[in-house]
Symmetry: C2
Subunit: 217 residues, 2 copies
């Protein structure tokens, strides 16, 4: 098995790989709140274990086995988040830190039973897809509200920012996962957006918010 630190590095590299295909030492350091020199040390260790492709100064990518481990950690993270919200009634902005601990519980049998117990949920409380027990999942095509135009409509299906502040703001505006929205107006001056929620309430959101709210068309 891998240590807790190794698992966190692999997960971080996996997430950072979504953007570019080679991840830099500094990116990893920033995402794990650690120093670049610590990252270099760990990269050597992960390369020795054949979990990453690493050549000095060139950044890293996950090998298939590294990716498999990362996806499994993410599966566990998202299933526990779903459990916390659906079974223990936590709010979607409260569960991330707990799941950061729970994702390291090792038993595969446990997580598969948990998956079954919750009836194989497809998405976590933030709209992220939950990999199945073989690590497979499909990421639906989501667009930020900021990429839509007037009269476009769709369903709120994810968030880019997972901070409590943002999620609580969305709660207050009733901009929660699953809600249907339609774009009413885009203010050119500041790129803020007016939208209508399920044919009722109208809300006016800033460009910042529009950038971080993801819609399935």
């Amino acid at each position: 098995m891998n240590t807790l630190a190794e698992e966190n590095y692999l997960k971080s590299i996996y997430h950072l790989s979504m953007g570019a295909d080679n991840v830099s030492t500094n990116q990893i350091a920033a995402s794990l709140n650690t120093k670049a020199s610590s990252v270099t040390d760990m990269l050597k260790k992960l390369a020795d274990k054949a979990l990453i492709n690493y050549t000095r100064y060139q950044g890293v990518s996950l090998t298939p086995s590294g990716e498999k481990i990362a996806v499994n950690i993410i599966r566990k993270h998202r299933l526990w988040e779903y459990f916390l919200v659906e079974k223990l009634n936590f709010k979607w902005d409260e569960v991330h830190d707990m799941a950061e601990e729970m994702e390291h519980i090792s038993s595969a049998e446990l997580i598969d039973r948990l998956d079954e117990f919750m009836d194989y949920p497809q998405h976590d409380p933030h709209g992220e897809p939950i990999p199945d027990c073989n690590g497979r999942f499909k990421s639906p095509e989501l667009k930020p509200v900021s990429a839509l135009t007037v009269n476009d409509q769709g369903i709120i299906s994810g968030v880019r920012d997972h901070t409590s502040a943002f999620l609580q703001y969305l709660d207050k505006q009733q901009l929660t996962i699953g809600k249907k929205i339609a774009i009413t107006e885009i203010i050119e001056f500041d790129h803020s957006v007016v939208l209508q929620i399920e044919n009722k309430k109208e809300v006016h959101i800033s460009r910042e918010v529009a950038n971080n709210l993801l819609i399935a068309l």
Copy 2:
């Protein structure tokens, strides 16, 4: 907060304190599968943190704050074991190792919600009492079958041995928690015991088994 290692030491000292009131270095080493010298190092650390009373060569006992931490770990261990058996359908011999990991999940809010979700169970799958959120619990007076005499009857309420081998044997004999039993005969030659389960099946158990099966009268 305390490290995982510190928590395991406190829990071990707590359990060993049930017998005598001062726990020895070697006892702790044996229970944690480590070496006496490692234990000594940790005892100094725990004493510095005022979690144990320790003077060289004299063994240790928990301070009130050390005991509070230990009981909390035990609460978490037993609640997770209950969850695994009652919600995820694991067998009582399968859950201990998973709970050893889960007991270190730190959130108190999480464990209190889990407690509520399961409707405040009083005992874990092995019959051990589950401390409430204030650390309070009552240990019922239990006697091993080996301490009973012919015609005594009672309810199976706990086990001394938690190994898979023993628990699976009990399952096979239908000697499970909650079953009512009555002593039919005690064989003097080898101290084995014949007992009747809920007025039906008769089983013959060895002295060894009789010593490890606990009854509430």
